[in-house]
Amino acid sequence: MSEFLPTGIQLSYLIAASLFILGLKELGSPATARRGNVLAAVGMLIAIAATLLDQSVLNYQMILVGILIGSLLGTIMAQKVEMTAMPQMVGLLNGLGGGASTLIAVAEFWRLLGSSETVGLDSTITMILSVLIGGVTLTGSLLAFAKLQELISGAPTIFPLQRPINFGIAIAFLVGSIYLIGSPKDPVIFLVLVGISLVFGLLFVMPIGGGDMPVVISLLNSFSGLAASAAGFVLMNNMLIISGALVGASGIILTQIMCKAMNRSLTNVLFSAFTKGASGASSGTGATQATDKTVRQIDTEEGAMMLGYARSVVIVPGYGMAVAQAQHSVRELADQLERLGVDVKYAIHPVAGRMPGHMNVLLAEANVPYPQLYDMDDINPELERTDVALVIGANDVVNPAARHDTNSPIYGMPILEVDKAQHTIVIKRGMNAGFSGVDNELFYKDKTMMLFGGARDVVTQLVSGVKQL
């Protein structure tokens, strides 16, 4: 590396990096996940401490102030955030990380500007990359946050000529970069590049719907890793390079997993907005078909009876439960049913909700005993022998069309086969489609009873209903 940090620092970096690796590894298994997180945190401490020993670090006061402010804000945010707001929280933090990388590159640029050093080709290139990735991560993540937090509409926004405009901007960025490589010390051009990067982030996320934000965030997470790596190349610092690469790789893998779980391709997630026309129409027809079918509707009293007198009940939570924050009432309902000797299980679909493990996190928050949660493959065989399957704000993950309707967008996605149960009760507010926008024939089956209303209210009523049995 160009600057010769003393061996000691280098070695502590090596230790820290190893801790990160072990941490990520342990994060992979439930039994060790927590320790893994701690390991990674320790690694971070070591890395920071070692860096502070670096001779090039002088004005400690300011730095410590900065660290204190940051830690304080971080702690507060971490304490305040609700479990259901996790995705946007990660998105936000992620954006800050990206912002930091961008600032580092800009700061370094200004340092070189001031100094008499000549700026080498490769350091210019790495700086441009660092700015680009960092900038996209920053604005992209913030926009994703805004969409998930519903500060702005989660709907995909497309404006005319979007593609040509993106294209033009990309060209502009390229030209600018080439120019900067030519005259590396031109602040104007540099700032223009920064600006373009920021705009890029917005343009990248705008056309993507709120439901896909988890995917986007995880992708941006991987970007923020790459941004850190880029910063590492700017400063010739192995620690940054390694950690960045780790995060970059992990983020990409996770993104793929999420896409696969939703059985869509990443490109489809990112660019479907541009081709929405078609799919929108098709789901539209699906809706119209719906109208001429009839659904059986019941009220909470009937529902409470069906549940209370059942031998076995399988609860299928979905995105709706998350939106309605109904997990606590659901847990209460389960308790009441068990008091009556009903055998209650939860069926967790891998992509129920809007991010992997979404349901597990919520139910765990409501202290649902872990052994009661069953994965799709374990519960599906049991559903036939189940008296009542209680579907709470889930839709796509229980849509039988996925099994047979080859031209349904969710065809092929493994589902929870609640239609095999003796009876199915579906709690949702109306007949609206779910995330995938397709109609659900389950609702029209004779064995299916619809229980309309917000998940929270309905379930609470069910609880009181069951209590009176």
Binding site: M1, A17, I21, L24, L27, G28, S29, P30, A31, A33, R34, N37, A40, G43, M44, T51, L52, L58, M62, I67, I69, G70, S71, L73, G74, A78, V90, L93, N94, L96, A100, L103, A107, E108, W110, R111, D122, T126, N221, S224, G225, A227, S229, A231, L235, N237, L240, I241, I242, G244, V247, G248, L254, A261, M355, G357, V361, A364, Y370, P371
Partner: protein, 97 residues
């Protein structure tokens, strides 16, 4: 292309391989904690911020660096705490595992 850059590239590639191999064995329920955990790690950018803002006195560089420090620290601290909060809820899972 400088010697350091090449070495950096080697390190980068190796680390990426590690990342891929380590990750692709994670059960779905842990994806969210993993996402925020690795996100916290990406806050390592903080040490970059430390290095650039280390210079004596007040220059644009230092100021930008300090802002970077704050942002990155939020990312780090917030990330690890949030992750821990999520994982606390999985503790029952440890019984099973």
């Amino acid at each position: 292309m400088s010697e350091g850059l090449v070495t950096g590239l080697v390190v980068f590639v190796l680390a990426s391989f590690v990342g891929f191999e380590v990750i692709n064995k994670v059960p779905p329920t842990l994806h969210t904690p993993l996402m925020s955990g690795s996100n916290a790690i990406s806050g390592i950018a903080v040490i970059g911020a430390l290095l650039v803002s280390g210079a004596q006195g007040w220059s644009i560089t230092v100021i930008l660096g300090l802002i970077a420090i704050i942002l990155a620290t939020i990312n780090v601290v917030g990330g690890f705490l949030v992750t821990d909060r999520m994982l606390q809820m999985f503790k029952k899972k440890e019984v099973k595992a």
